[in-house]
Every structure is written in structure tokens, then in C-alpha cells.
Symmetry: C2
């Protein structure tokens, strides 16, 4: 108790804690001897005073080792994983994981569920129906045990599951506590939370997509850059090769927003089709994972290899195996019509001629959430069928009466409200003004690993 008091008082006063102290605190929190109220005080002190690189690495190390850390050294190939800080329409992990696996780097991926305005990879995958006749029995399973996870990765080189009880239990508790104590917005706490889960998977390399913009968690570039640097450094401190891409999230990614709809776009990407921005992210992040895994010499070679896997059917074939291994119906990969469809599909028409200057990503996300595609609280149910399919992107000239998008909804009333919200998110200039420049790629922060 005196130890914890002293530790909290020193962080309160902006002093540095050493790795042993941070380790003892996290161990105490994990075994229950440090109660929530002491951890809440610690989280607030960290949110205000910050942690330096060494302290952040110590917190990450302690949270990582609060549970099981997987080991893939028995595999005959390297391992790599990818994480995105979350964006609107960001389904990149779904085509990327099988594409990377098809290129010979195993992808043991533990993902999260959607909360707030961004969707979760698990929710999207769970919209894939099962093999029952009515497509409703079973479906894609993401709540697998670590044993099943190990078996699937061993067999087909890729699996996507949710966080289990064994993975970083200290993070699971702290994450819930931060959610109610005003301490979500803290870079060292975010770093330790994301990286402890990702490093517990045991992948040797990690590609990060740090999204910036009004549809992202990080609204400005400076914060996103600080987060990216902190994650790369913390990973390096623990001996993992990490690259972070800073990418723009001012407009929705790709064309489809919503759970089953994003699976449909993912399938198009896996068939060498789909929107250019989603494909570009899959190729570059996947290519960097191949490079980090030692499969290729440089990023361009990696990107080309991923593009080939998308175009030659090998990525799609790997996704069929993934779907089947998780209890889903692999026929979905060749017939997206088997995905659950919304009863109401309505076109959203341009009200006048003009130039589509912007599509507000955050507003689209909130509209999709209202349709039922997301959840505000952990216990909320989501509707896999609903969302939007965009027909144009910023920079396009639009004509009155042409569809800007289609809204997929559970009822005519929802469809009408969704259409109005989507329209409000689109900024159409009557006169062609200068387009605000938009770039997908903002920066890349490289693995600064030293010999550890």
C-alpha cells in the first residue's frame, strides 16, 4: 500500500517510474491486490504527466506479460500482423490477412469489435453466414480458443479471432476502466493497450495503419504522428519490427460502409477488383508485412507480390480456407449475394448539378451507426445488413438526380433518415471551385529496431 502510494505520488509530481515499479503495479492489478481506484488514479496521472519511452515500454511489457504470449517459432514461415487505429469503411484487414498468408507470411490476427463510430473486423466477419441451408445457422466464428487459433494458423497460415481471456488480461481491465475515468485520450496508455494485445499474438513483425482525420480517432496529424512514433519505439524496445503508416481518414475508405457490405467490398478486392484506395492500402500494408517478414527485399517488391496474389486468385483461395476454417460458408467468396441483405435499399440522389467536394467521414459513420451498423455500448447488438454504398468520391462531377450512394436499411423509415443523413454528409459545390487537396498517404514511420 505504501509502495503504491509512493508510486502514485511520484507520477503525480511528474517524476519517472522504473520498469520494476511499473511491473509490480500491473502485476498487482492483474492479481487483484491493486484495486480499480488505484489504477484509475495511475491512469489519470499518466494521462496528464505522460510516460517517457522507457516507461511506456515497461508498461507495455508488463501488460503484455499479464497473460499468454503466443510462440510461432515452430512454423516453417515468418509471422506478421497488421493493426489499424480505425476508420470509416476500413475493411483492409479482411482482404489483407489472406493475401499476406498466400504470399508465405503467416498472419495470426487478434482483432477488436467496433465501438463508437468505427467498425470492428470481428463484427464484419461475423456477418458471413454459415453452411446451413438458410445461412443463419452458425456463421463465421471469431470466439475461438487459443488452441483452435494455433491449429488454424498452423494449417492455413492465417486466422482472425477476438481477444480471449488469456491475452493481456491487465489490458482488458484497464481498457474498461479508462472508458469511465476520462483517460482514453492518452498516447502512452493507447500504445500499451494496442501493442500489448498485438504483441501477445507473437507475430514477429507488425504493420500499423495510423489514421488521421475527422473519421479517425486521431483528428490531427501531430497527435497521430506522436502515436505512430510511440508505437514503433515501444515495439522496437520489445524486439519487434514495426512500421507505421500515417494515412488520411477525411473521407470514407472505399465504397462500402457497414458489416456485410464491407465483406462484399473485401471479396471484390480479393478478386483483383474493388476501389483503388482500399486496394492501395492492402497492397502497401501487406507489402510492408512481407518486407518485415523477410519475404521480399523492399516495399515495392512486396506491394507487387500482394497485387499478384489479389489478381491471380491465390488470395481469394486463401480467404475461402479462412471462412471454412471459421465455420462460415466459403461459397460467399464467389457469390456475395449469400451475405445477409437489407430489406430496404434506396438510392440517395444528387439534389443539383455540381462538384462533390467532400464526404464527411464522421457524419457517414454516425449515419451508419444510426442505421444499426455499429454500437455505442459494448452490449448493443448490430445489424449486419445495413449501411451505405457510395457511388462517387470527392472530386467527381455529379448531376442532379444521379445516385450519390445507396442506403441499405432495416425499414423504409430508417432508409429515409439514412438517406437524409448521407446527403447532409456530402458537400456539393454548384460551381467548380478548387478541390482541397487530399492525399491518402501522409507519412511512414519506420521500424527503428536496434539489436536487442
Amino acid at each position: 500500500m505504501l509502495f503504491t502510494y509512493d508510486l502514485l505520488a511520484r507520477k503525480r509530481d511528474g517524476l519517472r517510474l522504473d520498469a520494476e515499479e511499473i511491473g509490480a503495479l500491473v502485476r498487482g492489478y492483474t492479481d487483484g491486490s491493486v484495486p480499480d481506484y488505484q489504477m484509475a488514479a495511475f491512469a489519470m496521472a499518466v494521462a496528464i504527466r505522460g510516460l517517457d519511452e522507457g516507461e511506456t515500454a515497461a508498461l507495455l511489457h508488463a501488460m503484455l506479460h499479464s497473460g499468454a504470449v503466443l510462440d510461432w517459432s515452430h512454423l516453417d514461415r515468418p509471422t506478421a500482423d497488421k493493426h489499424s487505429t480505425g476508420g470509416v469503411g476500413d475493411k483492409v484487414s479482411i482482404p489483407l490477412a489472406p493475401a499476406v498468408a498466400a504470399c508465405g507470411v503467416a498472419v495470426p490476427m487478434i482483432s477488436g469489435r467496433g465501438l463508437g463510430h468505427t467498425g470492428g473486423t470481428l463484427d464484419k466477419l461475423e456477418s458471413i453466414p454459415g453452411r446451413g441451408l438458410d445461412g443463419a445457422v452458425g456463421g463465421f466464428q471469431t470466439r475461438l480458443s487459443l488452441q483452435e487459433f494455433r491449429a488454424i494458423v498452423g494449417r492455413i497460415g492465417v486466422s482472425l479471432i477476438g481477444q480471449t481471456e488469456e491475452i493481456a488480461p491487465a489490458d482488458r481491465r484497464l481498457y474498461a476502466l479508462r472508458d469511465v475515468t476520462g483517460t482514453v485520450e492518452s498516447i502512452p496508455l493507447i500504445v500499451a493497450s494496442i501493442m500489448s494485445k498485438k504483441l501477445a499474438e507473437g507475430a514477429g513483425a507488425l504493420g500499423l495503419d495510423v489514421k488521421v482525420g475527422n473519421g479517425a480517432f486521431m483528428k490531427n496529424e501531430a497527435d497521430a504522428r506522436r502515436l505512430a512514433h510511440a508505437m514503433v519505439k515501444a515495439g522496437a524496445a520489445l524486439g519487434r519490427r514495426v512500421t507505421a503508416f500515417l494515412t488520411s481518414m477525411d473521407r470514407p475508405l472505399g465504397t462500402h460502409i457497414g458489416n456485410a457490405l464491407e465483406i462484399a467490398e473485401s471479396i471484390a478486392i480479393l478478386h483483383g477488383q474493388g476501389p483503388a484506395d482500399t486496394r492501395a492500402l492492402v497492397c502497401r500494408l501487406g507489402g510492408e508485412m512481407l518486407r518485415l517478414g523477410g519475404k521480399v527485399e523492399d516495399l515495392p517488391a512486396g506491394e507487387a507480390m500482394i497485387a499478384r496474389a489479389l489478381d491471380d486468385g491465390s488470395a481469394a483461395e486463401r480467404f475461402r480456407l479462412v471462412v471454412a476454417a471459421h465455420g462460415g460458408d466459403p461459397r460467399v467468396v464467389d457469390d456475395p449475394g449469400r451475405l445477409p441483405g437489407a430489406p430496404e435499399v434506396q438510392a440517395v440522389l444528387a439534389p443539383h448539378d455540381g462538384l462533390l467536394v467532400a464526404i464527411d467521414a464522421y457524419a457517414v459513420a454516425v449515419a451508419a451507426l444510426r442505421l444499426g451498423a455499429g454500437r455505442l455500448r459494448k452490449e448493443d447488438a448490430i445489424d449486419p445488413r445495413v449501411g451505405f454504398v457510395l457511388c462517387c468520391k470527392p472530386g467527381d462531377a455529379v448531376r442532379r438526380g444521379e445516385p450519390l450512394a445507396f442506403v441499405h436499411a432495416a425499414s423504409p423509415r430508417d432508409a429515409q433518415q439514412g438517406a437524409a443523413a448521407l446527403l447532409a454528409a456530402c458537400h456539393i459545390d454548384r460551381e467548380r471551385g478548387p478541390l482541397t487537396e487530399s492525399r491518402l498517404w501522409i507519412d511512414v514511420i519506420h521500424d527503428e529496431i536496434s539489436a536487442v
Copy 2:
């Protein structure tokens, strides 16, 4: 929940909270809807970011009104109280309360117990034996109900009790929480804690003794000054007249340290005797209470009136009534030999001739605590009999073999250890060097009340 998150996040970011927000938080904490972990995060944010005057007053107001606030408007005389931030040998409240009451200002005093190195008024009073033949039955009762407290103050103008369940319950919970979350050292939290209890007593005026030095909670003058200003301002914001004296706590106050021993010194003071520094504090703080209560025009008149009450027997007579009203044996006031005595009393002899330059107050307090006079944890029992009686003060010339002090202990072994510790706390220069200047009175911070 969202409201609390937002409030915590804003204080985390150093923004101002309004009185309604702080009020809602404290009400939620009192009724249990705001859990300990959210209050811990709030306390840490406040400990780091601080609270401005308005926020501090709002927190004080909310904590004060989390429980009962007494009303003395039916009395035929003004009311005043006194609080000390705690020092070594600080027994001032015990002679002061009956002296002020004897001068016509009622003193409804709710006091604390000792924790850490400073003693508590209640522990000292409880060393007074009961009226039973063996002196052990009953004794001075401090755990009275508010109803009994009201009755005693109404009858004899003064009573001293411990905090009850009804008084500032939010403070009782927050105080315990701060103790385990590294948030004790925060001026706005200290102000709200002390003042909420003191103002709940309902006294119209308050004299504060803010102690500075190595034997005090505030080790340096700047911190003590900030605390004194903050308490005076917070009191004024709530319409109470408050004066804070900054006084030195570099040496023990008076001659007696220990529970029954400090009652013995208090009795000497009440008979117009006792050490000059204790008497000076009683007269000045008591005099200021008479001034704040409107009984005298200025402080010198108030001091003179208190001095008269000590010298003419009226203060001692009032203390007899207090002791009797609380179930103690009033004969103690004329025969301190009835107080519990230690089985072992040993002289601590000067090891060589020289000048007694300093007596380390903190070291003496720790030595007394080791003898059993204090408690480190709330549940520790204390021994009323043990402590020290000092025979000389800094500035005195001492001769080898003359007693510096007497140690009162439970066993010969304790006495030996206590004597060694006391000796180590005394700094005797073999050659007469320059004395470091010591002043009891450092400053006074006046009531800045405006028309409220």
C-alpha cells in the same frame, strides 16, 4: 456516465469545472452512483491540475452539504471554532476551548484523531479517566451523537467530539480514498476536507493554526501560506469569518508530548501556568476567536481576556464542566496525578556541556509514536501513558549529567530506546555557536470576507 467522463476529461486537460458539475459529482459520490475509481481519477486530476478559488469553494460547498450542517442560531451567544493542521505537542485546543467558552463565545468543536506523527485532540481527551473508583471505567467520551453534542454546547457553551456519520460523509469517503491513491498532498483537496468538517459544525467564525516546519504536515512556508490563503478564501466564499495564523513547528510545542502528558500540560495552562509558547498560542488564537465572534474590538483585547480567564480560574472551571459532561472525572483538573501514569519514567541526561541548539520535532514525534503514543494505521491502539516531558528548550545552556527530558514508557526497554531516540533528536553544540533564529509567529492571514 458520459457526464462524468466529460467532467474528468476536462479536469485532466486543465479546464475549469462549474459549481453545478462539481456538486453533481460529489452528490453522486455520496449516493454511490459515482464509484471510487471515478473519484480517484478526479482526485488525481485535481492533485495535478489544481482547482481555482471558485472551484475550491464549490467542492467545499458540495462536501459540506453532503451531510448535516449544525445551526446554533438559537444560542444566546456567538460561536467560534479553532483548527490546527497538526504539530508535535500541539495540545492548544484543549485549554483553548474552555477558555473561549468562559469568555462568552460558544465552541462546538469536532476534532480528529491522531494519524502519523501528530497527535489527535480526541486521543488526548480520552486519556482522562472516568469517575469509577479505579479510574478505568468509562473515562472522557468523545463518540457522542450530534444530539448529545448540541445539548452539552447549549448547557455549558463547549463540547469536543469526533466526526459522526452525519457530518460531511463525502469527505469521510474521499479522505480514505486519497490516503491510498497518492492524492493527500493537494491544497484544494486539503482545504475542502478540513473546512467541510469544520463548517459543518456551524460555528460562525474559525481560527486556523497552520503549522510550518519539520514537525508539521507543511514543511515549507510557501506551501503553508498557500494553504492558509486557500482556507481563508474558501471560508469567506461560504460566508464564514476565518483567520489563519502561520506558526512555526520546528521544535515541539510546550514541554509535554504524549496523550495523558499533554492533558497534564493543558491543565497547567488552565491554571495560568505552563510553558510560555503554549500559553501564547492559546491566548492569541482564543483572542482572535473572541474578536471574530464580536466579543472584543481587537486582538490585543481578546488575548488579554483569554489570559484573564486562564489566570482567574474561570477557564479551569469551564474545563471541569467539560470533563464532567463527557463522563470524565473532573477532579483530574485539580489533581493531574489521577491521569494514567507510565510504569517507567527515566531521565534523559545531557552527555556533555554545551548549548542546546535544536530539538528535532519530527524525530521526537517518531520516538513518541514508537513508545506507543501514536498510531500509524487507523486501527492501531495507543498507550495514553507514554511520551516525553522536555526540561529545556533550544537556546538553553546544558551541563553534562543534567536532565534534558524524561521519558515515560511502558517498559524499561521502551524507556531505554525512547531515551536514545530523544537524545538523537537533541542537537547540543559543545561550543556556543550562533543560535538559528526561531520565531513562533510567522504571519497572520485575515478573514477577507465581503458582504455575502
